[in-house]
């Protein structure tokens, strides 16, 4: 589907795409969260052979909105002897990084017919930056502060334990997650998420998760292993079952958000679901072909890319819910053992293997722009001149 690049004076459709994308992703994350919560409750209810929410709206669809209204009008409790500024800052710090990380997430692509008749394919992404995945990693590494500070500031030993657990857990699982992401980057050859998605164009076998090795012609499950490591680490990073140790209700009351009520609690809740959506979006873009259809022939590729992205996102949310309904919570030492003794060595081995395959079996055609400057541009990376030397 090609859209004419309408223009109104100096503004044309192509130039407002980042703003449209920003509004879309922000609005999507904020508005879809109630329905994700509803989806989770209904699916878990079905898995546990009970009815689930069914009073407010059709099939309980408005239950979460009713809960939100209730939270909004609840009393805003503040326990004695809390560290006030940090206590109020923590929920914000838990929500904002998750929302900001969505800025570098490309979720669809749009074809525009330019004024000169050429057709240009533009990605729908708020910030098409060439360090896209690093930007998201940086923001997701900041997310732990919300939980740690909530645990510390609320002056409650259960909260503190939850915060401690969370910081240890998120540091531990950030390593395998980063190494798995690095593997995916190596397979795609770019840090820019748009380029990563474009490198997976074609059928399902071109996705990084299922990628065939074109050099040897056999199924090479390295992407599969790294992708599974990412999926495990992403569940741990978002503190979801079976890795929900920071808020384990059977041992820590509610962990880091024990002392939070009303909208502050709602913000933690929103932050958790927003980061679920964002890490699922990264999984989609990095391993499962982003907005590309699984099969590149008629009927499949008629469906717009945004729909495919949404379908894949829904699949990962479904996996989250499925895990929560079926797996018991891990013991803490088991959690640490899995992170440090299983996932980390495995991800290093996979990274090494992918790098080796890359170096010896692929002859990559480097674009002229990359291979041309053998020396870096002068003035940027040459040893710094002595002060006053530039005159």
């Amino acid at each position: 589907m090609v859209i004419q690049n309408y223009s109104l004076g100096p503004i044309d459709l192509a130039s407002i795409i980042p703003y449209v994308a920003m509004g879309t992703i922000l609005g999507f994350i904020l508005l879809i969260v109630p329905f994700v919560i509803w989806f989770e409750r209904v699916v878990i209810a079905l898995m546990q052979d009970r009815l689930g929410p069914n009073r407010v709206g059709p099939r309980g669809l408005l239950q979460t909105i009713a809960d939100g209204v209730k939270l909004f009008f609840k009393e805003d409790l503040e326990p004695a002897a809390v560290d006030r500024s940090l206590y109020y800052m923590a929920p914000v710090l838990a929500l904002i990084p998750a929302l900001a990380a969505g800025a570098a997430l490309p979720f669809a692509s749009i074809s525009l017919r330019m004024a000169d008749g050429s057709v240009k394919s533009l990605p729908l992404v708020a910030g098409n930056v060439n360090i896209g995945i690093l930007f998201i990693l940086a923001l997701s590494s900041l997310q732990v502060y919300g939980i740690v500070l909530a645990g510390w500031a609320s002056n409650n030993k259960y909260s503190l334990l939850g915060g401690l657990r969370s910081s240890a857990q998120m540091i531990s699982y950030e390593l395998p997650m980063s190494l798995a992401i690095l593997t995916g980057i190596l397979m795609s050859g770019s840090l820019n998420l748009v380029d990563v998605v474009n490198s997976q164009a074609g059928s399902i076998l071109d996705w990084n998760f299922f990628k065939l090795n074109p050099a040897t012609g056999f199924f090479f499950p390295l992407g599969l292993i790294a992708g599974m490591i990412y999926l495990v680490a992403m569940v741990a990073e978002t503190n979801r079952a079976p890795f929900d140790l920071p808020e384990a209700e059977s041992e820590l009351i509610a962990g880091f958000h024990t002392e939070y009520s009303s909208m502050k609690f709602a913000m933690f809740f929103m932050g958790e679901y927003a980061s679920m959506l964002v890490v699922s979006g990264i999984a989609t873009a990095l391993w499962f072909g982003g907005w590309h259809a699984p099969f590149d022939f008629v009927l499949w590729n008629w469906i717009p890319g945004g729909i495919w992205f949404l379908a894949k996102l829904t699949f990962f949310i479904g996996v989250y819910v499925w895990l929560r309904a079926t797996l018991p919570r891990l013991r803490y030492d088991a959690l640490m053992n899995i992170g440090w003794k299983r996932l980390l060595p495995l991800s290093i081995v996979v990274l090494f293997a992918v790098a080796t395959v890359d170096a010896f079996f692929f002859t990559k055609d480097t674009p002229a722009a990359i291979s041309a400057p053998a020396t870096p541009p002068s003035g940027t990376l040459t040893p710094m001149a002595a002060p006053g030397g530039g005159q």
Partner: protein
């Protein structure tokens, strides 16, 4: 131009204030947080200099990993209360003042405090490629560049640090 100066001024103010807060705060957790704020502002400074890769790495490594470990240790050792780390006077403040004086006089002698600073030679082209992961990777790993050896030495230093930590923590493995 003026907008850039205002942006720089705002960022500089935040970075100086957060640095002062980091030293002056009685509460270790707040000191750590002020340091995180300082790291974040530093990352934005890198961004304004078109060094986007360094900016992202700055946030990931310092703000995201090292400072979380700091907070973890502070909370684990229960140093969170303001009284836990009270320092008695001593010679620290006067020595720091002398060192700061020496530092600023060196800066002044080198001409860094005046207005006659050398102008940047960067063009749009160098700015667009200068801070990418690719340029930095080529500078670090290309044998024709002078940075390969320092890079290797630094990585051996880090390896020594890791081995040393394990030896100290686990005498018998």
């Amino acid at each position: 131009m003026t907008l850039a100066i205002f942006a720089f001024g705002g960022l500089a103010a935040v970075s100086v204030v957060s640095a002062i807060l980091m030293v002056a705060n009685r509460n270790p957790v707040r000191s750590a947080l002020a340091l995180v704020a300082n790291f974040l502002v530093l990352a934005v400074f890198y961004l304004t200099l078109s060094a986007e890769f360094i900016a992202a790495v700055q946030v990931i490594v310092y703000a995201g990993a090292i400072m979380v470990l700091f907070l973890f240790v502070i909370m684990l050792l229960n140093l969170g209360s303001p009284e836990a780390l009270k320092e008695r006077g001593g010679l620290q403040a006067p020595i720091a003042a002398v060192l700061a004086l020496i530092f600023f006089s060196i800066l002044g002698a080198a001409g860094a405090l005046g207005t006659a600073l050398p102008k940047s030679q960067a063009t749009h082209a160098t700015l667009n490629t200068g801070g990418t992961a690719e340029t930095i990777g080529r500078a670090l790993f290309d044998p024709n560049q002078p940075w390969l050896f320092p890079f290797e030495v630094t990585s051996i230093l880090l390896l020594m640090g890791i081995v040393g930590a394990i030896v100290l923590a686990k005498r018998r493995i």
